[in-house]
C-alpha cells in the first residue's frame, strides 16, 4: 500500500526528471517544485578502488557525528562502515565550497528537501542526506528530508544500517530498484573477483557506464562490450551473495512490470534483491538500470488500473490475499519456484507485531500510568529522607542504606522503572511507536522527570557497590544509555517562548542536572588523590578539576537549580564542600592553588 501511495505522488517523477538532468549535465542540479527543494547528484562519477569498506569512526572530519558516536553498550558490534570509494566521492563534493553554499541556500528557501541521484549518484545522495540529517539534528531543525535513489549500489555494512535505524532515519530513505537492475546488487558479489582476470575491467566498466548515462548514443556498442563480463558476474553472484559484507538500509521500492512493493526490513530487502534477480538476463540487467524513467511513469498509471488475480482462485483470508497481491506486484506470481520464497520473505517484512504504532503508544500510556505509583513511592522516599533527622538527603540515604525494607523496596522500584523505559526506547528504535512520538510532551516530560528523580539512585547504587573501583567513574563508564537518550529528547523538544525567563526563587524540587551526584563523587575522588599526590604538576591538574567543579556547583546552587536534599546538613555534597574549604585553608601556604597562568599550559 505504501508503494501505491509513493507512486501516486509526484515526488518520484520529479526526482527522476532532475536525476536525468544531473546525469546529462554531469553536475549537481537543484530545483524547486511547490516549495520542495530537489537536489540531484549525477551518476557520472567514477569510484576509484574496489569494494572495500572503511569505518566511519576513522573519518577525521566528523561528517556524521550521530552515526560515529557509539555508546559503550554497542562496543561489541562492528563499527559502522561504508564503501571507501563512495565516501571519497562524497567528500570531494562535500569539501567544495559551492556544495555548501548550494545546500544552505536550498535549506533557507524551502519547506522540505529531497536528495536524489541515479546509480552512483544515488549513493552520494544517500551520504549527503545523512550529512544533512546530522547537521539538522545539531541545530535542532525539523526540516523534512527525503532521499530518493534510483538504482543505487549498496553503501554500508550491517552496523551502518543499524546505526541509521537507531537514529530513526531509515524512513527518510527510499531506494527505487527496478526489476532486474544489477547495480543495486553489484556489491552482493564484489567486482574484484573479476578484476583479477581483467585488471582494467573496473575502470573501463565505470567509464562506459558514465558514457551511457550522459548520452544514449553509444548504448549498443557498450552492450557488446559489457555483456560477457556481466554474464560472468551473474554466475559469480549466485555463489557469493551470502558472504557479502554489505547490508541495505531504509525503504526499498521494487518496481516490476506488474507493479510495485515497498519493503523496509533489511533482511527481507536482501532476499528480495536476490529473488527478483533470478530471472534476469545480462541484457535486461543493464537495460533496467537505465529505464527508471519508464518505470516511474508506468507506476503512476498502474495504480489507476483495476488489478485482479492473474492466476488461480482468490485466497481465502485477507492476509493471504494481501500477500498474494504483493507477490504479483513483484512480477513473480507466475514463477512457481520463486513465488513461494518471495511470499515468505514479504511475510517476514510484515513483522510479527501487527499492532499499529498508535495503539502501541496508547498501550504504553497505560503501562506508564501503572508505573507512576513506583515513581510516587520514590518521591515519597525522597521527601521522607529530606525530613528525617539524619539530614542526609535521599542520595546518601540510599547509598548508605542498610538492609532496610524501605530501601529494598525503592531499589526494586528503580529496577522496574528502568525496565519500563528500556522497553520504551526499544519500541521507539524498532519503529513500533508513532513517528511524532517524541513531539508528545507527555513522554518527553515523563522521561525527563524520571531521569532527574532516579538517576541519582543509579549513581548511588554504582558507588555503593564499588563499581567505580573496577570500572572507573560513573560518568564515563557507568551511565546507562537511556539517560543519554533522554538528554537528547529533552534537548530536542520544542521550547515554548515563555520558558526559562523566570529565575527560581526557591530551590527546585529535583536537581536539574541528574549527573550532579556523579560529579560530586568524582570531585571527592580528586580531593582524596590530592592528599596523597606528591607530584606538583599532577596535583595542579587535580586542583584545576576541583576548581571547575566548585564553580559548577556554586552556579547550580546560586541559580537554585539544586533540590533541598543537596544542601542537607549531612549530605555528601555539604560534607565535601566543608572538607574542601578546610583543606584549602590548610594548604593556603602552598600557592598557587588555581593559578590562572597555568590554564594556557595545562589545557591542550
Amino acid at each position: 500500500m505504501l508503494a501505491t501511495f509513493l507512486s501516486s505522488t509526484p515526488v518520484l517523477q520529479d526526482s527522476w526528471r532532475l536525476c536525468s538532468l544531473a546525469n546529462s549535465a554531469a553536475t549537481v542540479v537543484t530545483d524547486h517544485v511547490r516549495g520542495v527543494a530537489y537536489v540531484a547528484f549525477p551518476g557520472t562519477v567514477m569510484p576509484s578502488g574496489g569494494a572495500n569498506l572503511v569505518a566511519l569512526d576513522g573519518a577525521p572530519d566528523g561528517l556524521f557525528p550521530p552515526l560515529q558516536h557509539r555508546h559503550a553498550q554497542h562496543q561489541h558490534e562492528d563499527p559502522p562502515m561504508i564503501h571507501a570509494a563512495i565516501l571519497d566521492h562524497f567528500r570531494s563534493f562535500y569539501t567544495s565550497t559551492t556544495f555548501h553554499n548550494q545546500i544552505l541556500a536550498v535549506i533557507e528557501k524551502s519547506k522540505a528537501v529531497v536528495m536524489t541521484g541515479h546509480s552512483m549518484g544515488g549513493a552520494v545522495a544517500s551520504l549527503s542526506a545523512l550529512w544533512l540529517l546530522s547537521y539538522l539534528q545539531s541545530i535542532t531543525s525539523s526540516l523534512p528530508v527525503l532521499c530518493i535513489t534510483f538504482g543505487s549500489p549498496l553503501l554500508g555494512n550491517d552496523s551502518f544500517s543499524r546505526a541509521i535505524l537507531r537514529e530513526r532515519w531509515a524512513g527518510n530513505f527510499c531506494h527505487v530498484v527496478s526489476n532486474h537492475d544489477f547495480i543495486p546488487r553489484l556489491f552482493l558479489a564484489p567486482l574484484p573477483s573479476l578484476s583479477a582476470h581483467h585488471p582494467h575491467f573496473v575502470l573501463q566498466f565505470w567509464q562506459l557506464l558514465m558514457n551511457i548515462l550522459q548520452s544514449d548514443s553509444e548504448t549498443a556498442k557498450i552492450f557488446g562490450f559489457l555483456l560477457p563480463y556481466i554474464q560472468e558476474w551473474v554466475a559469480n553472484m549466485e555463489e557469493e551473495c551470502v558472504e557479502s559484507p554489505f547490508s541495505p538500509f531504509g525503504n526499498y521500492l521494487f518496481f516490476s512490470e506488474e507493479g510495485a512493493v515497498c519493503v523496509d526490513d533489511a533482511a527481507a530487502v536482501g532476499k528480495m534483491l536476490e529473488l527478483m534477480f533470478t530471472k534476469a538476463s545480462p541484457g535486461s540487467s543493464i537495460e533496467d538500470h537505465l529505464k527508471y524513467g519508464d518505470y516511474t511513469e508506468k507506476a503512476s498509471w498502474q495504480l489507476l488500473m483495476r488489478k485482479s488475480f492473474t492466476l488461480g482462485e482468490p485466497p481465502e483470508s485477507s492476509y493471504e490475499a494481501g500477500l498474494a497481491l504483493a507477490v504479483q506486484s513483484c512480477g513473480l506470481a507466475n514463477q512457481e519456484s520463486i513465488s513461494g520464497p518471495a511470499k515468505d520473505c514479504l511475510k517476514m517484512a510484515k513483522r510479527v507485531n501487527r499492532l499499529s504504532p498508535h495503539l502501541n503508544a496508547a498501550n504504553l500510556s497505560i503501562i506508564l500510568s501503572k508505573n507512576v505509583p513506583y515513581r510516587a513511592q520514590i518521591e515519597w522516599y525522597k521527601a521522607s529522607c529530606d525530613k528525617s533527622d539524619d539530614q542526609m538527603g535521599y542520595y546518601d540515604s540510599f547509598k548508605l542504606r542498610g538492609a532496610s525494607k524501605k530501601g529494598a523496596k525503592i531499589n526494586m522500584n528503580r529496577c522496574l522503572l528502568a525496565g519500563f523505559w528500556d522497553n520504551v526506547i526499544y519500541m521507539l528504535e524498532s519503529s513500533q511507536l508513532p513517528h511524532d512520538f517524541l513531539k508528545r510532551e507527555k513522554w518527553v516530560n515523563a522521561s525527563h522527570f524520571y531521569k532527574l528523580l532516579v538517576e541519582p539512585l543509579d549513581i548511588a547504587e554504582y558507588y555503593k557497590t564499588g563499581k567505580h573501583l573496577t570500572h572507573g567513574h560513573y560518568l564515563k563508564n557507568g551511565r546507562e544509555e537511556r539517560y543519554e537518550i533522554f538528554d537528547r529528547w529533552w534537548k530536542g523538544r520544542e521550547v515554548g517562548n515563555e520558558e526559562n525567563n523566570n529565575r527560581r526563587t526557591t530551590y527546585a524540587s529535583l536537581t536539574q542536572d541528574s549527573c550532579f551526584w556523579a560529579r560530586v563523587e568524582e570531585a571527592r575522588d580528586w580531593l582524596d588523590q590530592i592528599r596523597s599526590e606528591s607530584d606538583m604538576r599532577r596535583s595542579a591538574m587535580l586542583w584545576q578539576d576541583i576548581d571547575s567543579f566548585e564553580r559548577y556547583a556554586t552556579r547550580l546552587v546560586e541559580n537554585k537549580e539544586v533540590s533541598m536534599d543537596v544542601l542537607a546538613k549531612n549530605s555528601s555534597f555539604t560534607l565535601l564542600m566543608e572538607e574542601l574549604q578546610d583543606f584549602k585553608s590548610k594548604t593556603q601556604q602552598f600557592p598557587p592553588q588555581f593559578p590562572a597562568f597555568l590554564n594556557g599550559e595545562m589545557v591542550p
Partner: protein
C-alpha cells in the same frame, strides 16, 4: 437485501426522484437562487417541502485560493463544527461557503420555509452538482439552529468539508440526515480530492457550455483523468495505509513533501452501479476507498473511461428512475457482501481497503468497550478521593490544603489515586486525538458527567501539587493559553461547555484554586493594583455563582483554615466588594460542620 433506499436513509422513496428532478432544474436556472416544491406522499397523504439550490460552473465558484481553496468554517454560524480535542475548527471549501452565505439571507426569509416550520412539515434540501454543497451547508445551518430538522439529498455533489467536518457531524448524530448519490464514474464527486489545475477548469468549462445549452455538443476535454484520479489515489492510499496500521515512518515523511487534499466524504453515500443496483455505504473511510477504486480503469481504454466520467455526471435522473422502484439496494455496513461489490467492479486491492475500513470501525467499538471497563476503575478511585475529601473537612483544612501539605499517609494515597486517574484520562485523550474512539464519544451524557465530576474533584489536587512544587517558577501560571494545565481537563471542560452550548472557558469552576494561588503570588509581586482588584472582584463573583447558583464548587473552600479563607481575610478591605456575602457563606459553613 430487499430494502429500498428510502428505508435505509429514512426518507420516503417517492420523494427522491422528484427531489432530483427539482435539483437538476434548479441547477440550470441560475437566475433564481433556489426553487421550492411541495411533494405529496401517496400512502399517508402527508407532504414534504423540497428546496433545491442553483449551481454555478464558474471556476471561482469551485476553487478559491489554490491548491484546495479551503477555509476554516465560521463557528459563529456553525458552532458545532469543531473538534473538542484540539483538532481545530472544521475546514470547508471557501467558495462553497461564500455561495451559501449569499443565499442565506433570502433562504431564512423564504415564506415556504416559514410555513413548513409552522406546520412541522418535513423539509428536504436538495442540490445537484455544485448545488449540492449549498444544500449540505443549509441543512447544517438549520440543524445548528434547531428550528427544524431537515434532510439533505445531493446528486453528484463535490466534497465540501474535511475530516473534522465529518467527525463533528457524526458526533452530533447528524450524519444520517445527509444522503449523497454518486454515479460510478462521475468525475465531479472526486474532483475536490486533487488540487486545482488547468484540467479542472477544462472540466468545468465543458459542463458550463453544456448546461448553458448554447452549445449542444461541446468538445469534451481529455487527459484530465490521470491528473485528477492520480491525486485522488494519493489521498486514498494514504488513508488506506493508516487504516491498515502501516508503521513505516516514511509514510508521514513523504506526506510532508506533498499537499494532500483536506476534503473527505461525510454522511451516507449511495453508489449507482450503472446496472440498476444501488449500494448504500455509511462508513466514511469505506466511502473514500470506493470513490477512488470503483472508477479505476478496467479493460476499457482511458479515453472511454474519461468520456464516461463526464457523461455520467448528467445521467442521474435516468439512472435513478430506473433503480429507485426496484428493491435492488444493498447496504455495505455490517460486512461487505462480495456479490454487491461485483456490481461496483472493485479489485481485490480495493476489497482489502474496504476490509481495513470496516476493521477500523470495529476497533473503535472495541476501544469503547475497553473504556467502559475503565469507567468502573475510575469510579473506584473517585470514591476513594471523595472519602479523602470528606475526612479532610474534619480538620477544617479542606482536602486542597491537606493535599498541598502532604503530611499524612492519606495524602500520599490520594496522590497515587490522582496519578492513576490521570493515566486513564490521558489515554482516553490520546485515543480521541487519533480518532480511535467512536465519533459520538464526546457527546455521551454518562461520559461527560463522569468527566465533569472527575474534573471538579481531582483538578484541585493537580493545582495543589503544582503550587506545592512551585512549578509556576518553571512554567508560568497554571492557567495560561497552552500552559501547564493538563490537556485532559481542558477537553473535559470543553465537552460540558459544548453540551450546554456555553462559550469556551465559561465552566472553569475547577480552576478556582489556581485563581486563588496565582492572585496570592501576584499580590506579593506587587503587580498593577487596579488589575488585581478587578481580578479579585471577578473571582469573588464567580465563586458566589459557582457555590450558590449551580453548586459546581463545593463549600469546603470556605473552611476556616483553607488557603482561600486565610488569604481572603488578609486582603485589604478596599479590595473585596462582596465581603458581606462571602463572610456569611464562611459563617454558614463553619456552623454547618
Amino acid at each position: 437485501m430487499g430494502e429500498t433506499v428510502g428505508n435505509l436513509i429514512g426518507l420516503n422513496d417517492e420523494v427522491i426522484h422528484p427531489a432530483a428532478t427539482l435539483a437538476v432544474e434548479a441547477h440550470n436556472s441560475p437566475s433564481k437562487q433556489f426553487l421550492v416544491k411541495k411533494i405529496k406522499i401517496r400512502h399517508d397523504l402527508s407532504s414534504v417541502v423540497v428546496l433545491a439550490f442553483s449551481g454555478s460552473m464558474l471556476p471561482e465558484d469551485w476553487f478559491g485560493q489554490p491548491p484546495f481553496g479551503e477555509t476554516e468554517i465560521d463557528t459563529g454560524k456553525f458552532p458545532s463544527l469543531t473538534s473538542l480535542n484540539d483538532g481545530g475548527d472544521a475546514v470547508v471549501n471557501g467558495s462553497f461557503l461564500r455561495r451559501f452565505n449569499d443565499v442565506l439571507d433570502k433562504l431564512s426569509h423564504a415564506k415556504e420555509l416559514k410555513a413548513a416550520i409552522e406546520k412541522k412539515k418535513q423539509v428536504v434540501f436538495a442540490g445537484y452538482s455544485s448545488g449540492g454543497p449549498i444544500a449540505i451547508l443549509a441543512t447544517l445551518y438549520f440543524l445548528e439552529n434547531q428550528t427544524l430538522s431537515p434532510r439533505c439529498l445531493t446528486f453528484g455533489s463535490p466534497l465540501v468539508g474535511d475530516r473534522i467536518f465529518g467527525h463533528a457531524l457524526r458526533r452530533e448524530g447528524w450524519s444520517d440526515y445527509f444522503t449523497h448519490f454518486v454515479m460510478k464514474y462521475d468525475i465531479i464527486p472526486r474532483i475536490m480530492l486533487s488540487p486545482s489545475s488547468t484540467e479542472h477548469k477544462q472540466i468545468l468549462n465543458y459542463f458550463k457550455s453544456k448546461f448553458d445549452k448554447k452549445n449542444i455538443n461541446p468538445a469534451p476535454p481529455s487527459g484530465f483523468y490521470h491528473t485528477v484520479m492520480g491525486n485522488a489515489s494519493s489521498v486514498a492510499s494514504y488513508e488506506a495505509c493508516h487504516l491498515m496500521g502501516c508503521r513505516n515512518p516514511s509514510l508521514d515523511i513523504i506526506k510532508s513533501f506533498i499537499k494532500l487534499s483536506p476534503y473527505r466524504p461525510s454522511g451516507t453515500y449511495v453508489f449507482c452501479t450503472g446496472n440498476g443496483n444501488l449500494v448504500v455505504v455509511k462508513n466514511p473511510n469505506a466511502v473514500l476507498q470506493i470513490l477512488i477504486h470503483c472508477a479505476e480503469l478496467g479493460e476499457s481504454n482511458t479515453a472511454e473511461v474519461e468520456k464516461r466520467s463526464l457523461d455520467e455526471h448528467s445521467a442521474y435522473l435516468s439512472e435513478l428512475k430506473e433503480c429507485l422502484g426496484m428493491q435492488a439496494v444493498v447496504s455495505l455496513d455490517g460486512g461487505p457482501a462480495t456479490a454487491t461489490l461485483n456490481d461496483l467492479g472493485l479489485s481485490p486491492q480495493a476489497m482489502l481497503c474496504l476490509q481495513a475500513a470496516e476493521e477500523f470501525e470495529n476497533r473503535r467499538s472495541r476501544n469503547l468497550e475497553k473504556i467502559r471497563k475503565y469507567l468502573e476503575k475510575i469510579e473506584v478511585e473517585l470514591q476513594m478521593l471523595r472519602k479523602y475529601k470528606e475526612n479532610a473537612q474534619i480538620s477544617r483544612l479542606g482536602y486542597y490544603d491537606s493535599f498541598k501539605l502532604q503530611n499524612e499517609d492519606d495524602d500520599f494515597h490520594a496522590n497515587v489515586s490522582r496519578l492513576e486517574l490521570a493515566g486513564i484520562w490521558d489515554e482516553i485523550k490520546e485515543m480521541l486525538k487519533e480518532f480511535e474512539l467512536p465519533d459520538d464519544f464526546e457527546n455521551k451524557p454518562e461520559i461527560i458527567d463522569l468527566g465533569t465530576e472527575y474534573r471538579r474533584l481531582v483538578e484541585p489536587l493537580d493545582i495543589a501539587n503544582f503550587y506545592r512544587h512551585s512549578k509556576d517558577k518553571e512554567t508560568g501560571a497554571y492557567v495560561i493559553g497552552g500552559g501547564p494545565r493538563p490537556k485532559r481537563y481542558r477537553f473535559i471542560q470543553r465537552w460540558l461547555e459544548h453540551r450546554e452550548k456555553k462559550p469556551f472557558g465559561s465552566r472553569s469552576e475547577s480552576l478556582f484554586w489556581a485563581g486563588v494561588e496565582q492572585l496570592g503570588i501576584d499580590i506579593k509581586k506587587k503587580k498593577n493594583l487596579q488589575e488585581i482588584k478587578d481580578r479579585i472582584r471577578q473571582l469573588e463573583r464567580n465563586m458566589i455563582a459557582w457555590i450558590d447558583v449551580d453548586k459546581s464548587l463545593d463549600k469546603d473552600v470556605l473552611l476556616e483554615k483553607t488557603t482561600f479563607v486565610k488569604w481572603w481575610r488578609d486582603l485589604p478591605r478596599e479590595c473585596n466588594s462582596e465581603s458581606e456575602r462571602i463572610e456569611k457563606l464562611i459563617g454558614e459553613k463553619a456552623a454547618g460542620v
